[in-house]
Symmetry: C2
Subunit: 416 residues, 2 copies
């Protein structure tokens, strides 16, 4: 849709090109956030004050979509690599780099080709602008192990931190919602832009990958006079105590070894179904004791406001029960272990028993899952009062590559 | 969350009550659309220019959610009634009326109870405002037939227009995605508000209904300089030729018989899976010939702009092939039969063959499906070039009640 191979130059194409064509670099220089000088032009006939034109830079030391604020929508998908060899994998990763970088600038995944060929882009994001899109790529252990690793020349590349997750009490994992050679997290202000990113990568990777699973997530968007912490589908604010930027080096970014993961992170994905019928039938008192917080305000039951530290020891601490969620997962109870959570709510139809199939698309970034997610989850799975209402039905852990530098690609990072 | 039974009066509750408590009536008087005088107050710390405070009136001659413009998100769910008798069905419909009316004003589904009881509202929409929510209720034939109708004293109530849909060529219907005694379409500017409406109705109807199916839909939101017609997941604009308000009486609103459906409509829901991998592999030329329009602009291949009438006869008509979608479904080819479409895109994970399970949540309102949807679909299913790429996997037809007058309920409309 840019460049001399455009087949049908229409007014709308001209205007998209004029508005967006040269913006990527500017976005990169300006950093995360809206481009005020361009917003008016790009939103045009769109919603007043829309976030159409918001660009999150693709390039950087770290991938986008990790520590930047989570926008309202996500589509997260895992792919299995069907490429025959290392060169096929390289082609895939190079093509995905180009496509991802373009889409985060609001461009089609590839230049528009002659109309006698298949489009490079499936098209449903035409006119929607970048919409804050981030695309974050992770590598599953299955790509770095056994036959796969041999086929792609990746034997010995598996980071120690990318250990398989152990089984946890109460898990009921479904194979087709778990694992995958590659995972892509696409986040955007616009649900269609997030879906399109996954769709376009599937098109770009046709013949080299197959889609293993995909799940869409959403967050409430318009928080009125409340705090911006979104609510989960149990009705409680979730994410109040996420780490602050000063803690990212200690909590989020991978250790120095292996070198190719420097600046990367590890992502744990869990598809956690909530037994909403059971939860909704509990009294508000019981719900609040289960969580340890007041539903309406998010304040801990020990008092204060949403951002007050829960009182977990000494006078005033008895209102937060031993099994209360916030006590069980508190860093104090877990030798300081913390996660950067970036979860979304999901809705996936109805279960066979006539309930809503909905819950939490848990996404957590960390330096080393063996020291962070695994002990936290092991504790939750055995002692957290919430566990009664939660069933994890999908799971995966992925090595999230460092950021791509301009002129480089995902392939350079993984394959050298 | 309003009224004297509030248990914990928090600052945020006070402000929600102050902002929203008395708004319902005002919304009703002002008609569909935003309430400009209130927007600033209600959006508060929310997104600049957000649609948080937009109210679509619940009461009226027709239900909302039919002819008002479709907002970005929908959750559509079908329920089967498990109530034991007519009085149970009446309780359900009365409770749903109250809950629906409240939620469209941005209030919880029911007043907040003492914390020793289960909440009336599952809570995840707290702080999100009305967000343009509409809730539209339809009655499935299964509630008006056989044992069900006998149990609920509804024998003889089934409208002739609520005939079962015939089987169509190429359908591959899945029982658990089809039918249902009741259908609820919740549309909102906010995905979480739409989901919450369905969730809250499930809570309100606990013991009286079970969820049969549910599907979330989305539309691209921010159309830049393009026309506002949204694009489907095949990348084409969809809905260009929807009827105008002057045609609603002839196309949308039910006939005078039966009397209880006066001001109502009939809704056909189809879950149409797109074979995106096959579609995306076609050349742009082939895609455009299949549809009969140019992908980028939406203009018919016979020339002009998106809103130009396609030339279907005489000179210039040959560019639109006999099997082109827009020719096959054109009113001229269907004795004037038209539908008011309100479709959404859906994404529902991956298929077992490694493709995206995505497509169109087709929603079409009409006066009489026997004269509108059925002949159109029969023609499409046999001659439309698009049919190669589409598989209908879920289906339902519902009698959509007329609007509820203030002080009345869904139960009054259906049960008298």
């Amino acid at each position: 849709m840019d460049g001399p191979t455009d087949d049908r130059t229409t007014p709308s194409r001209v205007s998209r090109r004029a508005v967006l064509g040269g913006l990527g670099a500017a976005g990169g220089l300006l950093g995360v956030g809206a481009l005020p000088g361009v917003a008016g032009a790009a939103s045009g006939a769109g919603t007043p004050g829309s976030t159409t034109s918001r660009v999150v830079p693709f390039h950087g030391r770290h991938q986008a979509g990790i520590v930047d604020p989570a926008p309202r929508h996500a589509t997260v998908a895992a792919f299995d690599v069907t490429a025959a060899d290392r060169s096929g994998l390289r082609s895939l990763l190079e093509a995905w780099t180009i496509a991802a970088e373009r889409m985060t600038r609001g461009l089609p995944a590839g230049p528009v080709l002659d109309a006698t060929r298949s489009p490079n882009d499936p098209g449903e994001a035409m006119g929607l602008g970048p919409s804050g899109l981030t695309i974050t790529l992770g590598i599953g252990a299955s790509l770095l192990s056994g036959d796969h690793a041999a086929r792609f020349g990746l034997l010995g590349r598996r980071p120690a931190a990318l250990a398989d997750l152990p089984p946890f009490e109460g898990d009921a994992l479904v194979e087709r919602w778990s694992g995958g050679d590659l995972v892509v997290q696409a986040c955007s202000d616009d649900a269609q832009v997030a879906f399109h990113a996954i769709h376009a990568l599937a098109v770009t990777g046709a013949g080299l990958v197959r889609t293993r699973w995909s799940l869409d997530g959403f967050l409430g968007t318009s928080r009125g006079t409340e705090s911006p912490t979104p609510r989960n589908l149990m009705g409680f604010k979730d994410g109040t105590v996420n780490p602050a930027p000063a803690q990212f080096d200690r909590i989020v970014w991978a250790d120095a070894e292996p070198r190719w993961m420097r600046g990367g992170s590890y992502l744990v994905v869990r598809r956690i179904r909530m037994d909403l019928a059971q939860w909704d039938a509990e009294t508000l008192d019981d719900q609040e004791e289960t969580i340890g917080r007041i539903r309406s305000t998010g304040a801990p039951l020990s008092g204060g406001t949403e951002t007050s530290a829960p009182i977990l020891r000494g006078p005033g601490s008895d209102r937060i029960l031993p099994s209360a969620h916030i006590r069980v997962v508190s860093p104090a109870a877990n030798r300081g272990a913390r996660l950067l959570r970036r979860g979304y709510n999901y809705s996936a139809g109805a279960t066979e028993t006539g309930a809503l199939d909905a819950g939490l698309l848990f996404l957590a970034y960390q330096r080393d899952p063996r020291e962070q997610f695994v002990p936290l989850q092991a504790r939750m799975a055995t002692t957290d009062a919430l566990r009664t209402y939660l069933t994890t039905v999908g799971s995966g852990v992925y090595a999230v590559l460092p950021g791509v530098r301009p002129g480089r690609s995902y392939a350079d990072l993984l394959l050298g």
